[in-house]
Amino acid sequence: MSEAVVLNLVLWLPVVGALLIPLLPRERDAPVYTLAFAVMLVQLLLVIWLFVRFESGVSGLQFATQIPWIAAWGVAYHIGLDGLNLLLVLLTALLGPLVVAGAVRTITHSVKLFYAMLLVLQFAMLGTFLAQNLFLFYLFWEAMLIPMFLIIGIWGGERRIYATVKFVLYTAFGSIFMLVAVIYLGLAAHAAQGAPSFAFSDLYALELALPVQTLLLLAFTLAFLIKIPSIPLHTWLPDAHVEAPSPGSVMLAGVLLKMGAYGFLKLGLPMLPEAAKLFTPVLMSLAVASIIYGALLAWVQDDIKKIVAYSSISHMGYVMLGLLSYELLGIQGAIMQMVSHGLISAGLFFMVGMLYERTHHRELAVFGGLAKWMPVYALFFMLLALASVGLPTTSGFTGEFLVLLGAFYGAWPAFVQGESHYALILASLAVLGVILGALYMLRLVRRLLFGPAQAPGGQPADLSRRERMILATLVLAIFTLGIYPKPFLHKTEQAALDYQRLLLEPTPAQEGL
């Protein structure tokens, strides 16, 4: 079986699963989640196989499929793996079975609908990463909306409807401008090449005037900054996270938040290089502001879920910082940080969910000393918290360290030549985020796990075997990336190099200056 077929199988398996779910017997829930779990597990195994087969040191797409789809508009069904999306696909596939396993106790009504939506969401997320055609990318991007809308709205907390409507309107508002930009790019490609095309490779080759690029970049930036989310467009995130059921939060933090950064990586920067360079200081400032502001907000929250949610804003700021450094290390670091944050925040949201299922409380004030009552829970919580802080040997360290290194490398030449101190100042401020991260995480750990033991409703039971398995998988992945990231970095290196060349290559527009 060829790899391209397997890749298509990976993408479409969840759809097959979602279509099979309504056929299952109505009375019992067990077959539903068994099916969903089986689909996700098979998908994960196939992705791992592809990961192993993925050749490092080779430029371009691997295992690609390209079939004309809407010929009149030059839209093709074009998917493939490259170094940029490889790790993100792996992350998505890894979280799939874990989310299904984690949802078994959390989701108690409309079970079929939930797993169907989860599978559709998985399909849309993988599709967004795999798409090599802007139109296809947009379709998958928007297809994530309805499943997430229902997941938060049906199985969420008390203010779920407010949260989910806010989430959808924010996202839809951002992506509608992106749609206009997508159409514009399609028309521009048509004009430039004489044939309609939405292929990324064709769009990269476009040479657009700077004012046009700037407008397009604004449209894309709005959509992406909302998704990341970066300040000042982050206010939907705490609401969505707090109200979402914990499997929903895991998906949201683990994968959905990566979409914005991936959008910048795949579209914004390479397609509109001059405008992107022009706006780099602004975007970098927003990234650093997100790092610090998110961390400060996380520091003062009382709701555990909100702490993790705000820490996400902070951590995603590093991703942007790494991308905008235009350095090999920074770009690789950004990808690593995306994966690392996906694993760590998923783990933390799982743990908050597990605590909530036992006690129906999330306020930090009512808990204390859980280490005495739930030693295994405390152990996993400690490990995840330390990874979040960026302790060496965890993936958090690899990601943040590479990003900061890249940021300093990028800032240094301008500083030495006395041209600009701005980038260096921003990079230094970003380091501050690491310290703030330690502050809020250690505060959370101290108040939750240590001190006199208390919890509403008496002593909660420690983790079950199912829960331990979920967390152990995540922790294992976190330490693998922390201790031995080489195979992962190696697979993405060539793509990052090509990508950097694509960004830094002087375009004719610049040469003319």
């Binding site: 379709l139 297809a143 909306l145 309805i146 049906i154 749609l179 206009v180 028309l187």
Partner: protein, 484 residues
């Protein structure tokens, strides 16, 4: 002047509809209204036969007959097929509704529907101002009567009265505009009119008296058209009629009749007065912008679903007008595509309401509350329909919006395109509210009986078609593209 025998075969479908419509009218005198199945079956047979005739008589190339008053072309074949299919589907949706309400005059319902279809056919194939007007009036009179059909229901009578008075006024304005055009050009035929205008010498000089007369003519024509389309500020009848009429009639007005309204605009403005595009474009833009704004904003405030869909229609008409405003073949193509998609989606949405109507007529958001608990499949279909109306990919409604935006951006109308997309996000809010009521809220009333099997089947096909064509939009695009 020589007399030539018209080529009747080109109008075979119209003749068939006329004959069978009259036959049904006669039959209704002798047959008890209780024999519903007979009337229903005969109507469906008539529609199916007409479809056969439409395809059989479709000419290879554009042909004129009846002294150039009648045209048969690809546009006509496409729109007529769509009208017939959607009418047939509407009748399937309506059957059990009528069966539950023996007090409604059934035979008259079917006869009026068939004659309305005939009126639409004449509009679609009209090639002169006279035939256009004839078809329009036949359709309009049938619609007035259909709205008033439920005569024990006061709001229906009020709606019918309003519809009739305003409709007559609009027809008068349209007729007045046509008479000025006739006065200026001395012709009723659309192609002679177009030929007259395509001669640069005959184009009115700006500022001249003739130009002023053309301005008057276009204004009257556009007011009449805007009324028939339901564009703001000539929309006042739309919400009342949608709400007052019984749901089957609303379904017919809201979905099928919009196809004929577009045909009217395409024939008159584009085929006839295309050379004056510069003069009517501005007016269309105002209509489009106002419709998008008012339609989307007013829909948010509605609790009655039929009223909400009325305002949403107005918003969709705004999109269609925007596509026509582009005044390029791509724009006309977009308008045609949009209206087909809209008619299909609207038919499904009213179909869901009909499926939920037992003794009580389902028409408010409360009737949909918690639908997912009672009828998960219906709720899913409604989800698809609403998401398609909101323009969420990969459903068909998304492509309709996309192709309109493409036509606009191609002409460099960036601001209008942005305006349209911003209002479609605002529009998404009230469609999402329907989804919210169905899925997030718990039901407050008992389950309605299971809808009839043929209704469920047709509705499923309707909903799934939006997904299937969303995945393969090339099929419908190729179909509509062949027309222009």
């Amino acid at each position: 002047m020589t007399f030539e025998l018209p080529d009747f075969s080109l109008a075979a479908a119209e003749l068939w509809l006329l004959t069978l419509g009259c036959a049904l009218l006669m039959l209704a005198v002798f047959v008890s209204a209780q024999r519903h199945t007979l009337l229903y079956g005969l109507s469906q047979f008539t529609l199916a036969g007409a479809l056969g005739w439409v395809w059989w008589s479709a000419p290879e190339s554009r042909s004129l007959t009846f002294n150039h008053h009648y045209v048969a072309d690809d546009l006509a074949t496409l729109l007529k097929s769509a009208v017939l299919l959607l009418t047939a589907v509407s009748l399937i949706y309506t059957r059990s509704y009528l069966e539950r309400r023996p007090h409604l005059p059934r035979a008259e319902f079917y006869v009026l529907i068939l004659f309305a279809v005939l009126g639409m056919f004449i509009m679609i194939s009209a090639h002169s101002l006279l035939t256009l007007y004839l078809g329009l009036e036949l359709l309009a009179l049938c619609l007035y009567a259909l709205v008033a059909l439920n005569r024990e229901h006061p709001p229906a009578l009020e709606a019918a009265m309003k519809f009739f008075v305003l409709g007559a006024l609009a027809s008068g304005l349209l007729l007045y505009g046509m008479s000025i055009v006739y006065g200026l050009t001395g012709t009723l035929e659309l192609h002679t009119l177009a030929a007259h205008l395509s001669d640069p010498a005959s184009l009115p000089d700006p500022g001249s008296l003739t130009h002023l007369a053309w301005g008057f003519a276009l204004t009257f024509l556009l007011v009449g058209l805007a009324f028939k389309l339901g564009a703001v500020p000539f929309h006042a009848w739309v919400p009342d009629v949608y709400e007052g009429a019984m749901t089957p009639v609303t379904l017919f007005i809201g979905s099928v009749s919009k196809l004929a309204a577009l045909a009217l605009v395409l024939r008159l403005l584009i085929e006839g007065l295309g050379a004056l595009a510069v003069d009517w474009q501005g007016m269309l833009m105002i209509l489009a912008v106002l419709s998008l704004t008012l339609g989307n904003l007013a829909a948010i405030a509605q609790h009655n679903l039929k009223r909400m869909l009325a305002y949403s229609t107005i918003a969709h008409i705004g999109f269609v007008t925007l596509a026509l405003f582009a005044a390029t073949p791509a724009g006309y193509h977009a308008a045609l595509f949009y209206i087909l998609v809209y008619a299909l989606t609207a038919a499904g949405a009213f179909g869901v309401l009909l499926a939920l109507s037992g003794e009580h007529e389902a028409q408010t958001l409360d009737d949909l509350q918690g639908l997912n608990h009672h009828h998960p499949w219906l709720a899913f279909l409604m989800l698809v329909l609403m998401a398609s109306m909101a323009g969420l990919p990969p459903l068909l409604g998304f492509y309709a919006k996309l192709i309109v935006l493409q036509a606009l951006l191609d002409q460099g109308h960036l601001a209008l395109a942005l305006y349209a997309v911003i209002f479609s996000v605002i529009g998404a809010f009230y469609y999402l509210r329907v989804i919210k009521r169905m899925y997030f809220d718990t039901p407050t009333h008992a389950a309605t009986p299971r809808p009839a099997r043929d209704l469920t089947l047709a509705l499923s096909l309707n909903g799934l078609l939006l997904i299937a064509l969303g995945l393969l939009p090339g099929l419908l695009l190729a179909l509509t593209h062949a027309v222009f």
